[in-house]
Amino acid sequence: MTVEQVLFYLFAVGAIAGCSGVVLSRNPINSAVSLVAAFFFLAGNYVLLHANFMAIVQILVYAGAIMVLFLFVLMLLNQRDEELGPRKVSIAPLLGMFAAAVVSVSIGAGFMSYRNATANFPTDVPLSFGTAEQIGRSLMTTHLLPFELVSLLLLIGIVSAVVVAKRRL
């Protein structure tokens, strides 16, 4: 096994474990922390895919900003154990899990039927691929409109978050 493969399996197992932790922990704070870990592992995978800029953004924005916001709200609300609800198992979640398993297998099968999915990645990756420079150029030229729309969306997000969270309008 090459170093790359070792790293991939490490990150993959880590990401899956982290995400499972989110679903399995009873306390939402534990969920949040495992999600942060999962995001770090995913960022590692992005580096393996030569998406260096996206890896940094993943850590800064997702693990840094968004998850901190989650933790902040969780601690603000500070739910006690009895508020986390009774431990009960009903038929619906089991059904859901079964469906989700089918979805998973089907998506996997669908992906595998994608042409050349088993072919190796191209090896001659240009040095500039996935760098901040390339992404920046792309954002300011080809993808300018989506970029501006996203900024508008974030502005609306900020304003509406303030409006919603304000006690009285």
Binding site: P93, G96, A99, V102, V105, S106, A109, S113, Y114
Partner: protein
């Protein structure tokens, strides 16, 4: 095709849009003069731009036929799905120039007038925002270089029309009128859409220029082979036009649309939006000319509408309703012109009509304003002395619409009458035109009759005002009478742009739009007649019809008296029939309203009482309870359970796809 790219068109279209956005967003916080300026300035600048573009277009063509010159501006890609390509692309040819000048020119005058008319309304800024939005939508309709963009403008004007008819939305009746207009238009729009789809299926393009190319390369054999489909598509387009342009059978919304503010009626429901149907048919005249069946239908429907609306207008007592029916009638004239393969005459009448009908509507608005909202002509009368400017301009408008010699309507209407006779070969021989011509004369007679009835009843005779209206009777301010005078002058002189051929002077209007209507012209030219005797005959007949209508109106209503009532009493059934608008609204109510209720009653008796109550509830009650409980478990308001079901569905779909080995 001599096309030149230009940067003029986008600002022409976007300025009113910017005005609408500005007034819509912050208008209500601004002082009224400022929001009025935000409404007025973009339209004025657009008018200037349209003028510049028209002059530039004029400069493009040589001295002769103007080539097939057009200005274009491509603002980027919009839809590009397989063969369907529709860009944000604007196209400015001679017909567009005429429309754009009318829209922005008359639009500006009506905006100006509105400053006075809407002065005390609390929705002042909102009103100007809507009005600017209308101008923008209408401009995108006429400037569109493909049918999809045209449809966007088409829907846009429908939307603004709905907004403005229901402008005083606290009145339930006005909201109903707005909804009626919107729904009647939807019926037409569906047909229009189907027509566009069919055309796309036939030609593989929605670009007007490419459609024209496609048509020009069709061989006669191909036209015969595709005849039925072509006819179907033009018929569908025509039905779409009857919705927007208020023709039989979809005209019922226009009289009710008078619920909106009067300047809106003038701009949208008289001068511009309702002419969109005529514009579309003139723009696509190269298609209509291939389908004589559709042309004949257009002519007959147009004339039938003209006569029917004329007779109804004769009986109405609401000043705006009279004008509304008059508009329907005049639109019928334009359809008739399109139907007899005279698109130039249709466009010319469209322009002159825009002037004098806007004038008449604004004049009626001035009367309503002076009488504090009174619209019933039975409670008017003798206003000539108190409203000097209004009555004089209104008289000019009436003369123009009635076709008094040398006014605008005289030239445009007589050109239509003459075209009926001249283009009889297009109509398949003299049979049809010999029926159409006398009926068209009768419609012209009716026009003069109902317009002068209105004039005499409102402005002549003795005052029959209510005390409330009498108390603050006043002539309108200069900001309202100014536009009236401008439109009055235009109504008097606009006709000279389209002098008939026999005068030997150039027909400027005809010359200007000739390249756009060239396909029709080519067809007509084979039977072209410059026989001045026949033309004099048509002009003479049209003039006699108009003058006799005026004379009869004077005899009946000019001196008051009992004559009209006695006349009505001698034909009671006919009177009742026309007074009730031929019971068309009742017919619609019966077929679509009452029939639904009858059906509901039948269902109630048989299905509900017998099947449901007796069989289902009694016999299978346990089943419904059981299945209800079962389904109730699913529909329990639990989001996650819904999600689970959605996932199961997704799993099934994905499983099927994966098993089929479908390559994404």
């Amino acid at each position: 095709m001599n096309t030149v790219a230009t940067g003029l068109l986008a600002p022409l279209l976007l300025l009113p849009l910017a005005g609408a956005a500005l007034n819509g967003a912050v208008g209500r916080f601004l002082p009224k003069p400022l929001s009025a300026a935000i409404g007025l300035v973009p339209i004025a600048v657009s008018f200037v731009l349209a003028l510049v573009a028209a002059l530039q277009l004029h400069g493009l063509g040589g001295a002769e036929a103007y080539g097939a010159a057009a200005l274009t501006q491509d603002l980027g890609e919009w839809l590009n799905v397989g063969p369907l390509v529709a860009n944000w692309a604007l196209h400015f040819d001679a017909v567009t120039a005429v429309m754009a000048l009318v829209i922005t020119g008359v639009g500006f005058l009506i905006h100006l007038y509105s400053v006075g008319y809407m002065h005390d309304d609390e929705g002042f800024a909102k009103y100007f925002a809507y009005l600017n939005l209308f101008v923008a939508a209408m401009l995108s309709l006429v400037l569109a270089d493909n049918l999809i963009l045209l449809f966007l403008g088409w829907e846009g004007v429908g939307l603004v029309s709905w907004l403005l008819i229901g402008f005083w939305y606290k009145d339930a009746e006005k909201v109903d009128a707005a909804n009626k207009a919107f729904i009647a238009n939807r019926v037409g729009d569906l047909a229009l859409m189907l027509g566009v789809f069919l055309l796309f299926g036939l030609a593989g393009t929605v670009h007007v220029g490419e459609l024209r190319e496609w048509v020009s390369h069709l061989s006669p054999a191909q036209i015969t082979a595709g005849g039925t489909l072509l006819t179907t598509s033009t018929m569908l387009l025509f039905i779409g036009c009857t919705g927007k342009s208020a023709q039989i059978p979809l005209y019922v919304w226009l009289p009710d649309a008078m619920a909106g503010p009067t300047p809106v009626s003038a701009l949208i429901h008289a001068a511009t939006m309702v002419t969109a149907g005529i514009y579309l048919m003139v723009r696509l005249n190269f298609l209509f000319v291939l389908t004589p069946v559709t042309l004949a239908v257009v002519a007959v429907i147009g004339l039938a509408t003209a006569i029917m609306a004329g007779t109804i207008g004769l009986m109405q007592n609401d000043i705006k309703k009279v004008l509304a029916y008059s508009t329907i009638s005049q639109l019928g004239f334009m359809f008739l012109a399109v139907g007899v393969a005279a698109p130039a005459a249709a466009m010319f009448h469209l322009v002159t009509h825009a002037f004098f009908k806007a004038l008449l509507f604004l004049g009626s608005g001035s009367v309503i304003h002076a009488l504090s909202g009174e619209q019933d002509i039975r409670r008017m009368g003798g206003l000539g002395k108190v409203l000097p400017s209004t009555s004089k301009t209104f008289l000019i408008g009436c003369l123009a619409i009635a076709g008094f010699p040398l006014t605008a309507g005289f030239f445009s209407k007589d050109e239509i009458l003459w075209s009926i006779m001249n283009n009889q070969q297009v109509l398949g021989g003299p049979a049809l035109s010999s029926v159409l011509f006398p009926l068209a004369l009768f419609a012209a007679f009716l026009t003069a009759l109902y317009m002068f009835r209105l004039y005499f009843v409102v402005f002549a005779g003795e005052q029959r005002l209510t005390d409330e209206a009498k108390s603050h009777l006043h002539e309108s301010p200069a900001v309202m009478t100014g536009p009236l005078w401008v439109l009055a002058i235009l109504s008097l002189v606009a006709g000279f742009a389209g002098l008939p051929h026999f005068t030997g002077l150039p027909n400027l209007f005809h010359h200007f739009i000739a390249p756009v209507i060239a396909p029709t012209e080519a067809l007509v030219r084979s039977v072209y007649s410059h026989d001045s005797g026949a033309i004099w005959g048509c002009v003479g007949a049209g003039t006699v019809a108009g003058l006799s209508g005026m004379g009869l109106a004077f005899v009946l209503w000019g001196r008051g008296g009992e004559r009209p009532a006695r006349l009505a009493a001698s034909w009671p059934r006919l009177h009742a029939l026309v007074l009730n608008k031929y019971y068309i609204d009742e017919l619609y109510e019966f077929t679509f309203g009452k029939a639904l209720r009858i059906k509901s009653r039948v269902y109630d008796l048989f299905v509900d009482n017998l099947v449901i109550d007796t069989v289902a509830v009694g016999g299978a009650g346990w089943l419904s309870t059981f299945s209800g409980q079962l389904i109730g478990r699913l529909q329990n308001g639990n989001l996650q359970r819904y999600l689970t079901i959605a996932f199961i569905g997704l799993a099934i779909v994905l499983f099927l796809i994966a098993r089929g080995g479908v390559t994404p």
